[in-house]
């Protein structure tokens, strides 16, 4: 993929937490205008990757370019400007401001970053809330919302400033079937209608594959597969197929490493 086509371009990036190596010299290109799902086993550092792209964590080495800007080397003010212009991130919990109403939550970034008159802010907020189907809930407080509604309000707030790239952290976790299908549909329709680049971190293979143009599979600090969902489903790699098809045992073992079973059971006391 050429660099113009890639909205996010990661080269030779390593990141460790304490002694644990999370990413080991990875290269990754996230294509512009597409939905890319980042998947992999729990604890593999998928959310960490979003935070690295968003500049909330710094890599040990390598470059992370977002729309041509190398995020780790940006100064604080430049980083905030890049986030304001380019990025939107939907957190797993929604991360709504609990002391503000639904309306004020969505209006918050517009009020801080623009000098628009209140009447225009009202129109913008109502448009964003209408897009997620919650125009009628604008007077509610976050504590009065269900998990699915809170996430939709957070989505409206995230698109309030029309970002070019959306980062979704586990958007499908803990949702009932109706909220789940609403969220899946919203992510896809927002991406297509606004021409966004979307990066989706998730465990849900079926939902992700139904809307993703590309799937990036991570394991043990490496990218083990990057392709369309169909190609990954039929991949030659057993490890990739095990994850995509949700098989309980395979290259990623069902059992946590342990002593030999016969020896273990014959032992009297630990």
């Amino acid at each position: 993929m050429s660099s113009e086509e890639a909205f996010v371009s990661i080269r030779g990036m390593s990141f460790s937490r304490g002694d644990r190596l999370i990413y080991d010299n990875i290269d990754l290109d996230i294509p512009r205008g597409k939905v890319t799902a980042i998947m992999g086993p729990s604890g593999t550092g998928k959310t960490t990757l979003l935070r690295l792209i968003g500049g909330q964590l710094l890599p040990d080495s390598g470059t992370i370019k977002v729309d041509g800007h190398n995020v780790p080397t940006l100064k604080r003010a430049q980083l905030f400007e890049l986030r304001k212009q380019t990025m939107g991130m939907l957190f797993q919990s929604g991360a709504l401001f609990t002391d503000l109403s639904v309306f004020d939550n969505v209006a918050f970034p517009i009020r801080v970053h623009t000098d628009l008159p209140e009447s225009m802010i009202r129109d913008l907020v109502l448009m964003k809330l209408e897009a997620v189907g919650l125009r009628g809930a604008r007077r509610l407080m976050p504590a009065e919302l269900s998990g699915g509604m809170a996430r939709r309000v957070a989505l409206a707030r995230t698109i309030a400033l029309d970002p070019e790239m959306m980062l979704y952290d586990e958007p499908f976790t803990g949702l009932d079937p109706i909220s789940l299908s609403v969220t899946v549909k919203l992510i896809k329709s927002l991406n297509d209608a606004l021409g966004l680049t979307s990066i989706l971190v998730t465990h849900d293979v079926d939902e992700a594959c139904s809307i993703a143009d590309y799937v990036c599979l991570l394991s043990d600090g490496k990218v083990i597969g990057f392709d369309s969902p169909e190609n990954l489903m039929n991949s030659g790699s057993e490890q990739v197929r095990q994850f995509m098809q949700g098989k309980p045992d395979g290259p990623v073992p069902f059992h946590f490493p342990a002593d030999n079973i016969d020896a273990d059971f014959l032992k009297q006391v630990d």
């Binding site: 990025m87 991360a95 709504l96 970053h113």
Partner: protein, 267 residues
């Protein structure tokens, strides 16, 4: 032999590490304070935010300050009367109560109560904002949380604390008057007249306000830093809240000695 050397060296190494960690934390807290103050005046996040913080830090602490001030004043009246009457100087009760409150007890007790009431609330609030990813969300919107969350709270504490300290002293003086005049029979004219004659605006009132300003800044600084630096779990927030109350209370008492020594010209 090697074991023995290790046994001796381990505690020294641990002490060194603890000292380095404390210094690092102090350095981080210093940078944090400088950044929060440098990047904006009181109204940098909007005047409304500042008023909201003064309300939540100051107005909501009023009841505890007024009740505590009244009781402290009444006890001072009672104790002062007992001591002064031995020398036949009950008439100096007003002077004693007012000077004790304005110079020492007003700023110090308010500082301690402020650390327990407003400081712990600030730490818990910011810690929970961190745990629920509200601070991360703000950062990802391109909004600096130091400017939006910390600066108005710091200024709110800085502005509210001296006002609370003065209210504490005022109510305490009334409490002393209530006990002295109404219950113990001290002459009302002597109580207020001696106070008026001996309390100086610069030496007593203003110096007390300066102490309150310093305590307000330090307590709020400790509270917001502990919240911002807390580990975002229930245990982490609980530990940060405890640290706020302990550190802020000790800081108030320690700084009170230093400030008093400077004001009396002993240092």
């Amino acid at each position: 032999m090697l074991n023995l050397i290790n046994k001796i060296l381990d505690p020294i190494q641990a002490l060194g590490q603890a000292a380095l960690a404390s210094l690092q934390a102090f350095g981080r807290a210093g940078v944090f304070l400088a950044s929060s103050i440098m990047w904006g005046g009181p109204g940098s996040a909007g005047f409304g935010d500042l008023v909201k913080q003064i309300y939540s830090i100051g107005v909501r602490s009023l009841s505890i300050i007024i009740v505590a001030g009244f009781f402290v004043g009444m006890v001072l009246g009672l104790q002062g009367y007992t001591i002064l009457s031995d020398f036949g100087s009950e008439a100096a009760l007003g002077t004693m109560v007012s000077l004790t409150l304005l110079r020492e007890l007003g700023p110090v007790v308010t500082g301690l109560l402020f650390a327990g009431r407003a400081g712990s609330a600030l730490t818990a609030e910011i810690g929970l904002m961190k745990a629920t990813e509200q601070i991360s969300a703000m950062e990802m919107m391109g909004i600096d949380p130091l400017k939006r969350i910390i600066t108005p709270r710091l200024w709110g504490g800085f502005i509210a604390m001296p006002i609370l300290g003065l209210i504490f002293s005022l109510v305490g003086i009334w409490g002393g008057a209530y006990v002295g005049i109404n219950m113990l029979g001290v002459d009302e004219g002597a109580y207020w007249g001696n106070m008026q004659a001996s309390v100086g605006f610069y030496d007593d009132v203003l110096k007390g306000v300066v102490k309150s300003l310093v305590f307000g800044l330090v307590v709020t600084w400790i509270a917001v830093y502990q919240g911002f630096d807390s580990i975002p779990t229930s245990e982490g927030i609980s530990s940060a809240t405890t640290k706020t109350v302990v550190l802020a209370s000790l800081a108030v008492l320690g700084l009170d000695f230093i400030l008093t020594a400077i004001m009396l010209g002993s240092i």
